[in-house]
């Protein structure tokens, strides 16, 4: 009963959740760059969800007699070196990317934000330790980190997520630490401390929500970078093992037949570029709007 009363009081004092969301999204809808980006991203999300409806062939179906053919009425984007329909492969390939990229960013966000909050809120030796670890991992060029992790652990979707998490978490930790250092001096944090709240409560309930703006923009950029990384890993033969329809590995395989069938190289490259450009445009617009708002 007490809890219910609190909720009602809170909802009357501030605008409703829906209104607040509308207020945050409205300027974004007016930002043309963000909208172009969002359209590109939504296109691929729709393709990923509706892949079975949008394709006539299976992604692994090897059709006889149509090896390395260009676009035609039967095969909109052509076929690859094993006679598989390129559009089907790209459509189904979008599913893995649409799932793996946000998932790996979420993982790095959880680890990075926790480390950053610990370092920023506690300071002292915790801060020193966390920041040294962060420095060490950030000394590695990202691709090199991927190479040695995947070489040691083997190529699989789980290891791709692990590699991107390890490479991404330190950057987030550094960002969150900086924000936490600033926010922990605010009055409401001091008030929470006086109330006798635990350190975890202050970190995750008081500090984290108030640092969300820059974290969201950063995460949006990171999803773009994760797509980029998954594609690169696939291209280097370190991503999903064949014959799964992975955009990067499609480019890698089709590269050997580039003189006979350039289409098989072109389409997956275009797919991945458009998705990354879309995510980047969206993140850019988001940053512009949030910057203006602040």
């Amino acid at each position: 009963m007490v809890a219910e009363g609190q909720v009602t009081a809170a909802s009357t004092a501030t605008p409703s959740r829906w209104e607040r969301l509308k207020g945050a999204v409205a300027p974004l809808l007016r930002n043309r760059i963000a909208m172009v980006g969002l359209t590109l991203v939504l296109f691929w999300v729709v393709v990923a969800i509706a892949a079975p409806l949008l394709t006539r062939y299976g992604p692994l179906e090897e059709l006889p007699g149509v090896v390395n053919k260009g676009p035609s009425a039967a095969h909109w984007l052509g076929t690859d070196n094993k006679g598989r329909d390129l559009w089907s492969r790209i459509a189904y390939g979008s599913q893995t990317i649409i799932v793996l990229a946000p998932l790996s960013v979420l993982c790095s966000l959880i680890i990075g934000a926790t480390l950053g909050l610990l370092a920023g809120y506690h300071g002292g030796w915790v801060d020193d330790l966390v920041m040294r670890i962060v420095d060490i991992i950030m000394a590695f060029p990202t691709v090199l980190l991927y190479l040695i992790i995947i070489a040691a652990a083997g190529a699989s979707p789980v290891n791709v997520v692990i590699a991107i998490t390890v490479a991404g978490a330190p950057g987030i930790a550094r960002l969150v630490r900086g924000l936490a250092l600033d926010i922990r001096t605010r009055e409401y944090v001091a008030a929470a401390r006086l109330r006798g709240e635990s350190a975890w409560y202050i970190m995750f309930v008081e500090i984290l929500p108030n640092a969300r703006g820059p974290i969201i923009v950063d995460a949006a950029l990171r999803i773009g970078y994760a797509v980029f990384s998954i594609g690169t890993l696939g291209f280097l033969g370190l991503g999903l093992p064949p014959p799964s329809p992975d955009w990067g590995s499609m480019v890698n395989v089709a590269r050997r037949y580039i003189w006979t069938n350039p289409w098989a190289v072109l389409w997956p490259s275009l797919a991945i570029s458009s998705l990354v450009v879309g995510l980047n445009l969206f993140a850019d617009g988001l940053q512009e709007e949030l910057g203006r708002y602040e």
Binding site: R132, D135, I136, I137, M138, A139, F140, P141, T142, V143, L144, L147, I148, I149, I150, A151, A152, A153, G154, G224, F228, G231, T232, F235, L236, G237, L238, G248, V251, N252, R255, I258, W259, P262, V265, L266, S269, L270, I272, S273, V276, V277, L279, N280, L281, D284
Partner: protein
């Protein structure tokens, strides 16, 4: 300033030490399939274990790390009691030798119960001398000796102990035709060998054959048994070479209670011997079925089963399921079986240098320390792929990569700064929007996609430039500059956008500053404001950001080198990672991280130097 630099250098050293631990741990954490990678899928667990021991992977992690970092030669010198020296053989491969008191270079090998010293004469030839004085005795009475073996490793030999053994073979076909019998007991040596033969005129009976048993019950320690089947063929007076192939299907060791201890399924493809003979000669093929006993005391039976296949021009070709060999009149086939067992408490598998596979030796070394000088002394180890020191290919690859990066850098920087300034001066106008969007697109497109697009346009469609780089010699890069165009262009497109956007936002910010407005209000000419007041401040941020961005550029170089086959550092690490060439991955990764970290250090110092607010504080 000096204090700042020293502090940063110390911090960098600490970081690099931590990086080296991380690189080492990650790349050595799962080295289990190195052996499988190099030796193929048919390697037995025993061979794999022995191979890993020779590479030093059975040593504790900390010892391996120390060896990798500062070398293992000093430790080996203590064990051997002689200084070690690294020389190069005539093919340029490094060789480790111990130095005797009189200055002679010495290595060792074991032969039976003897230790043989190989003494290198000044002219390069080697003299073999028995050197049994080197055997020491440990507390349990085992005689051992430390020395340098012929594979550049410090090795600990244990003197083999003779053991008695018997070995019996009963080889017969499915129709109960006895092929041969052999029985042998040997109490003296390290290896017993027996052979029994049978002669048979005419054709070989069809079907499979089985050896009944080899009783190895009295063998001690870990031992090795082998059964060989030889088919001799008296070639008639034909001109044709003769080839006989024998396949063995299955090797099985059965315990006394009939349970299988070890079984190798070979599917007709496994152990296979071929021999080619000429007219009038006797020719034959042998098959070795090798297996290793598991425990010492148990009696066991060694079974080999297989099918025969003969293929030769004189004899009608036949597949091994339907064995029907007909031979010309007057020719005779002979069958012989061998039984041999290698008896020693230590069997060592050595990979033969000729690439012919494993050679098992009794009384071989039981412990190995691969010799190297260590990463810090310029020797990050030996490549598993090439057998050469990693440092050689590393230096070459680094030179090529730096060359590529330098050209790309020289093009990217002026171009990107110029375009960024132009965009920044025209903030919000069409030109600015265009440059910004183009910059975003080139940066956001993955490197491999950019590279592939460029190959499509310039190599596939316009046919202007080669789509891959091929370097037959070390200096080919400098002779065929057109091969560099596409890699450089790809790198340029990737980096250009980023630097352009940074420069643009920096310029926009500077142009909004009050002192620029003041300059305009004073009525100064536009270009004078840009060059005298805005430019220097606007370039401060991009220069450091670019240097901090070097990790990104390195990542781009890795991918670009992989696309175009450019023989640089990135390709070296990439291929080493795929092959699990641990030493090359570690060496390459350390050099790459050192490059990245030192560039960032330079960026920090440059920023401090350029920014008066920090310089004078």
């Amino acid at each position: 300033m000096a204090k700042f630099i020293v502090r940063r250098l110390l911090l960098m050293a600490v970081t690099m030490l931590a990086v080296s631990i991380l690189v080492f741990l990650v790349s050595e954490i799962a080295p289990g399939n190195i052996a499988r990678n190099i030796l193929g899928a048919f390697v037995t667990p025993e061979q794999e274990k022995s191979f890993m021991a020779q590479l030093g992977y059975n040593r504790p992690l900390l010892t391996r790390y120390v060896s990798w970092l500062i070398g293992s030669d000093w430790h080996a010198e203590q064990l051997i009691g002689m200084p070690l020296q690294r020389i190069r053989d005539e093919r340029g491969f490094p060789e480790w030798w111990a130095v005797d008191q009189d200055g002679t270079l010495v290595r060792w090998k074991a032969d039976g119960t003897d230790l043989i010293a190989l003494r290198r004469r000044p002219d390069g030839t080697v003299q073999e001398v028995a050197d049994n004085e080197r055997w020491r005795e440990d507390a349990s009475g085992t005689r051992y000796a430390w020395g340098v073996n012929q594979a550049n490793r410090a090795a600990k030999w244990v003197q083999a102990k003779p053991a008695p053994a018997s070995c019996a073979v009963d080889l017969r076909f499915a129709d109960n035709t006895v092929l041969g019998e052999t029985d042998l007991t040997d109490a003296s040596g390290l290896a017993v060998r027996a052979n029994a033969g049978a002669e048979r005129p005419g054709a070989l009976p069809p079907g499979t054959w089985t050896t009944r048993e080899i009783d190895l019950s009295s063998l001690s320690g870990r031992e090795l048994a082998s059964v060989q089947l030889a088919v001799d063929y008296d070639a008639p007076a034909t001109e044709f070479p003769v080839q006989v192939t024998v396949y063995v299907d299955q090797v099985e060791i059965v315990g006394a209670d009939g349970s299988t201890i070890w079984r190798g399924e070979l599917g007709g493809k496994g152990f296979r011997g071929t021999a080619v003979g000429k007219r009038g000669e006797t020719t034959g093929a042998m098959v070795d079925a090798l297996a290793e006993g598991i425990s010492a005391s148990e009696p066991r039976v060694f079974k080999v089963s297989g099918r025969l296949l003969a293929e030769q021009p004189a004899v009608r070709y036949s597949l091994f399921d339907k064995l029907a060999v007909t031979i010309p009149d007057g020719a005779r086939l002979r069958y012989r079986t061998f039984c041999s067992a290698l008896l020693s408490s230590h069997t060592s598998w050595t990979l033969a240098s000729s690439g012919s596979g494993f050679v098992a030796t009794a009384g071989g070394p039981v412990e190995f320390i691969p010799l190297s000088r260590g990463f810090l002394r310029g020797d990050p180890g030996e490549s598993l792929k090439t057998g050469r020191p990693v440092i050689e290919s590393l230096v070459r690859a680094l030179r090529n990569s730096l060359f590529l990066a330098a050209i790309a850098f020289a093009i990217i920087m002026p171009l990107a700064l110029l375009l960024g300034l132009i965009a920044g001066m025209n903030e919000g106008k069409f030109l600015d929007r265009l440059l910004s969007i183009l910059g975003l697109m080139t940066t956001a497109t993955p490197q491999f996609a950019t590279g592939v697009f460029l190959i499509l346009v310039f190599a596939s469609w316009l046919k202007w430039l080669p789509g891959a780089t091929l370097f037959p010699s070390d200096n080919a890069i400098f002779q065929n500059p057109q091969m560099l165009v596409l890699p450089v262009l790809t790198l340029t497109l990737i980096e250009l956008g980023y630097v352009l956007r940074i420069t643009r936002s920096s310029m926009v910010e500077v142009m909004r500053q009050p002192y620029i407005r003041t300059a305009f209000l004073k009525g100064l000419p536009y270009w004078r404001i840009i060059f005298k007041h805005a430019l220097r401040n606007a370039l401060l941020a991009p220069i450091t950001v670019i240097m901090l961005h070097v990790n990104w550029l390195i990542g781009g170089i890795v991918v670009v080198e992989a696309i175009f086959g450019f023989p640089g550092l990135g390709k070296l690490i990439y291929e080493a990672a795929l092959f699990k060439d641990v030493a090359a991955v570690e060496g390459g990764a350390m050099v790459m991280v050192a490059l990245a970290v030192s560039t960032q250090l330079l960026a920090d110092i440059a920023y401090t130097f350029l920014n008066p607010r920090i310089r004078y504080s």
